[in-house]
């Protein structure tokens, strides 16, 4: 029997953006907008981002350092309430190996003239290939990129 392990973890990230809730939600819902911020580091090689934003719809994207291992993101949209919330399940592969399965929710709340976003991820991290701390760090980076895209008015 191969050595197997599962580490379960949960993290929550909050961000407040000086943008209307409809605009922040659109940055998740509109494929062209999402592709602008939902990407790995600048020096990574990237695949085409595909997004079918509806309940039951899928999203895929992959990327990785030049010549290095490729990270694959496969997501299913489980529940969508426009301008309110998005619930997804997603799995990550590193090359051929499945490294995690996660349940992620994003909640959008009006905060003054802006929007408070609450992202909660509950994950099963498999066989020690990835760590929740790294996932949280990476997700914070993505939400910072979303903030920058909103500031620059490109989403």
């Amino acid at each position: 029997m191969t050595d197997r392990s599962v580490r379960h973890a949960k993290f929550t990230i909050e961000r407040t953006y000086p943008a209307a809730r409809e605009r922040v939600f659109r940055a998740f819902a509109d494929p062209a907008s999402k592709a602008k911020w939902f990407v790995g580091p600048d020096n990574w090689e990237k695949s085409n981002h595909k997004l079918d934003f509806r309940v039951g719809g899928k999203e895929t994207v992959s990327g990785g350092p030049p010549g290095g291992q490729v990270h694959y993101y496969h997501c299913t949209y489980q529940d969508i309430v426009p301008n309110e919330r998005i619930v997804t399940t997603y799995e990550m592969h590193l090359d051929e190996t499945r490294i995690s399965v996660s349940l992620a929710t994003v909640e959008f709340k009006t905060a003054g003239s802006g929007t408070k976003l609450i992202l909660t991820e509950q994950g099963a991290f498999l066989d020690g290939f990835d760590k929740p701390e790294l996932r949280e760090h990476g997700t914070k980076g993505l939400l910072d990129q979303l903030g920058a895209a909103l500031d620059k008015d490109v989403v």
């Binding site: 029997m1 197997r4 379960h8 949960k10 529940d79 399940t89 399965v101 349940l103 509950q122 099963a124």
Partner: protein, 148 residues
């Protein structure tokens, strides 16, 4: 609109090998002997136990209409060792939860130890995590009875 996040873990020991415990999940004729809580009943169940496979279960309380539907997808399967699945449940077509369920099976003495970890986003106060935990304890007791 609201989301309640919750999780729980239940561990059980069974006097059966990991292979037998895994088979109780994998083989439809075996799973339908135990996979519903309390005295609730299953009105309809499809089976597709493989990675990427999707199943639908329609169920309800005793004497009531089977208005509860769970749609499950098998995310990760390691034979005799691990099953990870995601599920969406709805009552009368209104979604009540999205969950991630991990079942780990390991050798323990002459039998097995099973650890079930449930991670959930419960939607719009349609259900409580305590009820889900109670339900799964009941289901795992029934599984134990079929393995005894």
């Amino acid at each position: 609109m609201s989301i309640q996040h919750g999780s729980f873990t239940i561990a059980r020991r069974y006097n059966a090998t990991p292979m037998r415990v895994f088979a109780a999940w994998a083989i439809p004729e075996q799973r339908q002997r135990w996979n519903i809580h309390g005295s609730w009943t299953v009105a309809e169940q499809t089976f597709d136990f493989r990675e990427g496979g999707e199943e639908v279960k329609r169920f309800g309380p005793p004497g009531g209409d089977p208005v509860h539907v769970a749609r499950t997808r098998y995310e990760d399967i390691v034979p005799d060792r691990r099953i990870v699945m995601s599920s969406v449940t709805a009552v009368r077509e209104v979604p009540t939860s999205v969950t991630l369920l991990t079942v780990e099976i390991e050798i323990a003495g002459p039998g097995s130890r099973l650890v079930l970890t449930y991670q959930a986003a419960l939607l719009d106060e349609g259900d409580k995590i305590e009820h889900r935990e109670e339900g799964w304890r009941s289901i795992l007791d029934k599984l134990g009875a079929t393995l005894a």
